[in-house]
């Protein structure tokens, strides 16, 4: 201990100590999050290729948009912002994110309400329901790919035997059903996660409110919309934001299930394709940067419109 510390107030001392406790985490965050992000943004303004990562030169916004006027007067637009494949991927991703999060929230809420009730073997059911979430996505995606296979797949077999379909459906191959297949697997996989987060929120709701409602003879539907839903709203909002972030950067499931189908290609998939397969590293970096920007916009909008309290200040 140096004599200097005597000159500082207690608050200052505590702040200084806090800083040193946080410093390792800040450093780790800088190296694993901030640095790769900044580097990707920097790459997107160069002409770097994967074979020569350090030889890229600054080319400004050309990877995003470049406009050239030919001598004939024809105007040519190049770059990600003029690339129909990119906008197709954006649309796929946004559609996927909204539909999957919508269904996961509804189903997760139902599952959470069931699990919140008192019944025998509740602990076991709570553990069991987490299994889809615990299986690595690559494994479950491959598993589903076989179940969805048109010739040997069990889904077609069951549906055919039950008379639900008249002929085998090529789930992942047909452009009409590919997105449904991806959505189905994602909803199967992530509903437990939503259920768990919502369940945590449900358990915070004081029991006596329900008792009071019961004594007053309020019907259960009204209890749900007037009591349960408003009280779990903060937990629900955080759960949705987590899922939204996750869904907007979906990669693994699509990559395994329908790797090259234009009907399901998402922003992450197309960015990887450009970076690795096509050796257009900088172009892919530009798409990654846009992906980051789009996610940032979505989250800010959501927090602003939904007045979500992420800081926890309101709890005090």
């Amino acid at each position: 201990m140096t004599t200097n510390s005597g000159g500082l107030s207690l608050t200052q001392q505590r702040q200084r100590a806090a800083f040193w406790f946080i410093a390792p985490m800040l450093a780790a965050l800088f190296f694993v999050a901030a640095w790769p992000l900044l580097r990707t943004i920097w790459f997107s303004f160069t002409d770097t290729t994967l074979s020569d990562l350090y030889g890229g030169e600054w080319i400004g916004f050309d990877n995003y948009l470049s406009i050239r006027v030919l001598e004939s007067g024809r105007v040519i637009y190049r770059g990600t912002l003029a690339d129909p494949a990119w906008w197709n991927a954006v649309w796929n991703t946004v559609r996927f994110a909204f539909v999957s999060v919508f269904f996961e929230t509804i189903l997760g809420l139902i599952v959470a309400l069931v699990l919140n009730a008192e019944f025998k073997g509740r602990g076991l059911v709570r553990a069991a329901i987490l299994i889809p979430w615990a299986i690595p996505t690559i494994v479950s995606a491959k598993m589903w790919a076989w179940m969805l296979n048109d010739q040997f797949g069990i889904l077609n077999d069951i549906a055919l035997n039950l008379g639900l379909i008249s002929q085998k459906i090529a789930w992942t191959a047909s452009t009409d059903t590919a997105m449904y297949a991806v959505l189905m697997v994602d909803i199967w996989k992530t509903t437990p996660f939503m259920a768990l987060l919502i369940l945590a929120g449900l358990q915070m709701v004081p029991r006596d409110i329900y008792e009071a409602a019961k004594i007053d003879g309020v019907n259960p539907v009204k209890v749900f919309f007037r009591i349960t839903l408003p009280l779990i709203r903060p937990a629900l909002a955080v759960a949705i934001i987590f899922r939204m972030l996750d869904a907007l950067r979906i990669f693994d499931l699509v990559y395994v299930l329908t790797p090259n189908s234009a009907a399901t290609k998402t922003m992450s998939v197309i960015s990887r394709e450009n970076m690795i397969d096509f050796d257009k590293f900088a172009y892919g970096a530009a798409q990654s940067t846009l992906l980051f920007a789009i996610i940032a916009v979505f989250v800010s909008l959501y927090i602003w419109l939904g007045k979500v309290d992420l800081s926890g200040e309101g709890q005090k």
Binding site: L50, S51, L53, N149, D150, Q151, F152, K168, I169, A170, T172, A173, S174, T175, T258, P259, N260, S261, A262, R272, E273, I276, D277, F278, D279, K280
Partner: protein
């Protein structure tokens, strides 16, 4: 019989290698990365055993997904990062121009071995005078057909695609009427990946529609023969081929075929041995022939495939790695591979080898297929090949799945390829 032959082969190989590479010095542990299709992992162990015994080194196979597109992505990442974990890469015939910078020049090491291979294959692996990889086997697909079913309906193997569709439909309808509800006429690889480029190139070429980008670099894909070829292929989907064929790669097609649920299949030679395995429902019931043509007078086309072995520039055990590469591309290993896995040798003299002819009578026959082999446009398009191929397979996949007509999609493809080409490949 086969076992004894194998042992004798191994003994001679061991002796030859001891002479060639000297007694084992320090044992090295090498890592060899390769896509794994069928029995590739077990076969590889058998093939490298003599080399391991002779040199005292060991080799570990790092298996990769069957999709060549996935393999390429992973290899490119490792190589760009200068990974020292992998010493040897098994590379597709089309990758040489794109990965050349990362591999060791084998010209000097293989100066005696290289001239015994087909010159065209060695040439495909040479980039600016640098021998990037050594061929270990070549590949050319053929039409597999069910002898028993064709006989039952009094049909001969089809010469044209139209004949194939007609025969397939006849047999499919006939067999389904007899209760085989799962039988399909023709299975192939229609997933949107490199394999579709191979399939579609065969249709287009055998209809007289060129080979997407000609050797001199001209983009030739937008022509009426190519349109006719794609329209013909489109008419198969949902009629003689299951709708799911649009998600099939090699193994899915083989799955349908080997369970006895297809009359025809387009596939590579590896499916021959597996189809004659004891667990196969079609064992002894099928034969192969060259792929059909568009109309009388056109020539059949089979996409030239094949795999090569390259030594990573970043390997810390290059000497041992080069020795393994030479062994794998050499006559002993190629012969063993031909016998156990029906992989086509790239060493010309092996096509007259009596042991191979006895064990795999199909290999001498495959010479006909190989003579019609057409290369993918990886040579003229250089580093842009992957993008060209992806655009091509997307256009084909769109056409097959009813997303625009062949004429529209090929017209669009021509524009896209012109854009990619820019001022030159």
């Amino acid at each position: 019989m086969k076992i004894i032959e194998g042992r004798a082969l191994r003994a001679t190989a061991t002796a030859a290698m001891l002479a060639a590479f000297g007694a084992p010095v320090a044992a090295e542990e090498l890592f060899y990365v390769s896509g794994a299709v069928g029995n590739a992992v077990e076969d590889f162990k058998k093939i490298v055993k003599p080399w391991e015994e002779a040199t005292g080194n060991t080799v570990t196979l790092v298996p990769m997904p069957a999709s060549t597109t996935d393999q390429f992505g992973q290899y490119r990442l490792w190589l760009a990062a200068g990974a020292t974990d992998i010493d040897l890469y098994q590379t597709d015939v089309i990758w040489a121009p794109q990965l050349a910078d990362h591999f060791v020049d084998l010209t000097e090491a293989a100066k005696d071995l290289a001239p015994t291979h087909f010159p065209s294959i060695i040439e495909s692996q040479t980039v600016n005078g640098k021998l990037v990889a050594l061929p270990i086997f070549t590949d050319a697909p053929a039409l597999y057909y069910r002898k028993d079913l064709l006989e039952k309906y009094g049909k001969t193997p089809p010469k044209t695609w139209a004949e194939l569709a007609e025969t397939a439909k006849l047999i499919q309808d006939g067999e389904r009427a007899e209760g085989k509800a799962d039988l399909w006429g023709f299975v192939w690889q229609g997933n949107a990946y490199e394999g579709l480029t191979c399939n579609a190139l065969e249709w287009v070429k055998s209809f007289g529609g060129g080979q997407i980008v000609e050797p001199d670099g001209t983009i030739s894909i937008n022509n009426e023969n190519a349109v006719a070829a794609l329209e013909a292929a489109k008419s198969w989907v949902g009629t003689i081929s299951p709708d799911g064929v649009l998600a099939y790669q090699e193994e899915e097609a083989r799955g349908v075929w080997q369970t006895g649920n297809a009359v025809f299949m387009r596939n590579w030679p590896y499916a021959y041995t597996l189809g004659n395995g004891d667990d196969s429902a079609v064992k002894g019931l099928f034969a192969v022939t060259t792929l059909p043509v568009g109309k009388e007078g056109d020539t059949s086309a089979a996409t030239l495939g094949g795999w090569n072995v390259a030594v990573s520039k970043y390997s810390t055990k290059q000497e041992a790695a080069i020795s393994l590469a030479l062994y794998l591309a050499g006559p002993e290993a190629q012969k063993e591979r031909a016998i156990i896995a029906s992989n086509l040798p790239t060493i010309i003299s092996l096509y007259d080898d009596a042991d191979i002819a006895a064990a795999q009578p199909i290999i001498p026959q495959w010479k006909d297929v190989f003579l019609n082999a057409v290369p993918r446009p990886s040579a003229p398009t250089l580093g842009k090949y992957n993008e060209v191929s992806a655009k091509f397979w997307s256009a084909v996949h769109n056409t097959l799945s009813g997303n625009g007509s062949a004429a529209e999609n090929l017209e669009l493809l021509e524009v896209e390829l012109t854009d990619i080409k820019g001022s030159g490949w």
